[in-house]
């Protein structure tokens, strides 16, 4: 009984296997789409720094060259969505020798660790740094409990 490998037994079998895998992975990316940020930056653009104090959560991201026109910040419940889309065009007579800066679209969905007051969220973008202040919702603020002597 001879075993027939799905991609043949010859020397080109590996190449065929590899092509199949590449095609499959491409299709997966296309189906998942922008939601999982399969575009240029992957699911990790932009990198984020998040801090917290008694009043609020503070989120900071570096987005040099982006403006409030091409990025979007949406807060819904415990979720913050940070997304953007830009295409820089240097014109016809241009040759790129290096292209390291982020182009295209990104989206990050951040699950906040506590509820925030969506109506009071503030965002600002200055010198390429995005700062988002998310005041904690009333119920998330810590309250000092008075211990009464009885």
């Amino acid at each position: 009984m001879s075993t027939q490998l799905p991609f043949g037994n010859g020397p080109h079998a590996f190449r065929r296997l590899r092509n199949e895998l590449d095609h499959w992975l491409e299709n997966v990316s296309r189906d998942v789409g922008d939601w999982a940020s399969w575009s240029m930056g992957g699911a990790n653009y932009p990198p984020l720094n998040i801090a917290e104090d008694a009043q609020a959560l503070y989120l900071e991201a570096e987005l040099p060259g982006w403006s409030m026109n091409n990025i979007e910040v949406v807060v819904r419940g415990n979720e913050l969505s940070l997304s953007g889309d830009r295409r820089e065009d240097q014109g016809a007579e241009s040759v790129y020798h290096r292209r390291e800066r982020m182009q295209g679209s990104f989206q990050r969905l951040i699950h906040l660790p506590l509820p925030v007051d969506a109506g009071k969220v503030e965002a600002s973008l200055s010198a390429g740094i995005l700062r988002i202040t998310l005041p904690k919702a009333e119920e998330a603020r810590s309250r000092k409990i008075q211990v009464k002597a009885s």
Binding site: N44, P46, Y58, E100
Partner: protein, 132 residues
Amino acid sequence: MSATTSVKQESETQAPMAERTRNTRTYRPNVDIIEKTDELLVLADVPGAKAEEIDIRFENGTLELHAPIAPRQQSGARVLVNEYGVGDYYRSFQVSETIDASRISANYTDGVLTLHLPKVEAAKPRKINVRA
């Protein structure tokens, strides 16, 4: 393009032109280098800098840029997520094109440093007409 472009790259070398009193990390900014007919354009991502503090040098075909960055910790806040560090930016390049150093100009907007490096006349591409 690979996904690693989003990770901030640390620089192996400290900027030679500035001695920092505190011990901060130095990062290598992402750049786009574009060759146009008349000039070389360098766009560098250096968010959080001050235009007047950015140091640019061009000498013997080497372009160096150094942007000191002030720390930005939220005072009194506890860090929950720390995906990137804040530190100075430094990078140097070998520029093969013949650049007219006296006409180099730079501007800094929205965290991006744009350098215009005009080519010397002789380095510009010239269309040669072929006579029949």
